[in-house]
C-alpha cells in the first residue's frame, strides 16, 4: 500500500514539475534561437573556397538533461507494446537544440558568424540502477571561422 502511495506521489511530482520545466526550457530555447539566428551553423566538412582566410577555432557546447519520473514510467510502459516513445523524443530534441545554442553562443562571443563541420554526439552517461536511459549528454562541436581584422 505504501509503495503505491510513494509511486503515485512520485508520478504526480514528475508530471507537474517535468511539464513545467519542459515548457520553460522550450520557451527559453525558442527565444535564444531567435537571438542567435545570425550565427550560421553548417554541417558541411569544408568551407567553400571563396571563404576568406579566417582564424579557425574549435567551439563546443554540451548539456546533460534528465527525463522526469512520469515520462520514464510512460516509456517503460511503452516497451510492453512497442512503438514511438514520444516522451524521450522531446528530451533528445531539447538536449540537441540546447547544445547547439551553447555552441553558437560560444562562437558569437569569439566574434564568429559561421560554424562549419557541425558534429553532434549523444551519450547516456549515468545508467541508473535498472539500466534505463535516465539522463543523456549531448555535445555539439564545430569550427568557428573568426574574421581577422586588418
Amino acid at each position: 500500500m505504501y509503495d503505491l502511495i510513494v509511486l503515485a506521489s512520485l508520478l504526480a511530482l514528475g508530471y507537474f514539475f517535468g511539464q513545467y520545466f519542459e515548457k520553460k526550457h522550450y520557451k527559453s530555447i525558442i527565444k535564444r534561437e531567435a537571438k542567435y539566428r545570425n550565427v550560421v551553423v553548417i554541417a558541411s566538412r569544408i568551407p567553400p573556397a571563396s571563404e576568406k582566410p579566417d582564424a579557425s577555432i574549435l567551439v563546443t557546447g554540451s548539456v546533460v538533461i534528465s527525463v522526469d519520473y512520469f515520462k520514464r514510467f510512460l516509456a517503460s510502459l511503452r516497451t510492453l507494446v512497442g512503438g514511438r516513445v514520444v516522451s524521450y523524443e522531446s528530451l533528445l530534441d531539447r538536449a540537441r537544440r540546447e547544445a547547439i545554442l551553447r555552441m553558437k553562443q560560444k562562437a558569437r562571443s569569439l566574434g564568429a558568424d559561421k560554424v562549419f563541420n557541425l558534429k553532434l554526439e549523444t551519450a547516456s552517461i549515468s545508467k541508473n540502477a535498472r539500466g534505463g536511459v535516465g539522463s543523456i549528454e549531448v555535445l555539439a562541436y564545430g569550427t568557428a571561422l573568426v574574421p581577422i581584422k586588418r
Binding site: 512520485l10 511530482l13 514528475g14 514539475f17 517535468g18 520545466f21 519542459e22 526550457h25 566538412r45 569544408i46 568551407p47 571563404e51 576568406k52 582566410p53 579566417d54 582564424a55 579557425s56 577555432i57 574549435l58 563546443t60 554540451s62 548539456v63 546533460v64 538533461i65 534528465s66 527525463v67 522526469d68 519520473y69 515520462k71 520514464r72 540546447e98 562549419f116 563541420n117 558534429k119 554526439e121 551519450a123 547516456s124 552517461i125 549515468s126 545508467k127 541508473n128 535516465g134 539522463s135 549528454e137 555535445l139 562541436y141 564545430g142 569550427t143 571561422l145
Partner: protein, 104 residues
C-alpha cells in the same frame, strides 16, 4: 596552437603531418552531485553539476591532446573528434583525438 575539427584550415597549407595525437581523462562525480542528480531524475531538467563536470573534463582532454601535439613539434591539430564512454557506474571517459600537423 590551432585546434579545428575541419580537415583543412582555409588559407593555410599543411606542410607536415605527424599522425594521431590524443588526450583522455576519466572523471567521476562526487556524492553531493549524485544526490542532486537523483532529485533531478524525478523532476526532470538539466543536471548542471554533470554539465560542468563533463565540460571541465573535456577541456582537460583537449589540453592533453594539445600537449602531445606540442611535444612532437606540431602547431595545429586538425580533424578533432570527441568520444564519450561510461567505463563504470558513475564514471565517464572523455576522449579527444586529432591529426597533428605543421601549418605554414
Amino acid at each position: 596552437m590551432i585546434v579545428s575539427n575541419m580537415e583543412i584550415i582555409p588559407g593555410k597549407r599543411v606542410k607536415d603531418h605527424f599522425g594521431l595525437v590524443q588526450g583522455s581523462t576519466v572523471r567521476t562525480k562526487h556524492v553531493g552531485r549524485d544526490l542532486m542528480a537523483s532529485f533531478k531524475n524525478i523532476f526532470g531538467g538539466e543536471l548542471l553539476g554533470y554539465t560542468e563536470l563533463l565540460h571541465e573534463a573535456r577541456e582537460e582532454a583537449v589540453n592533453r591532446m594539445k600537449q602531445q601535439a606540442e611535444a612532437v613539434g606540431a602547431n595545429a591539430v586538425l580533424n578533432v573528434r570527441f568520444s564519450t564512454s561510461s567505463v563504470a557506474q558513475g564514471a565517464a571517459e572523455l576522449f579527444a583525438y586529432g591529426t597533428a600537423v605543421v601549418l605554414e
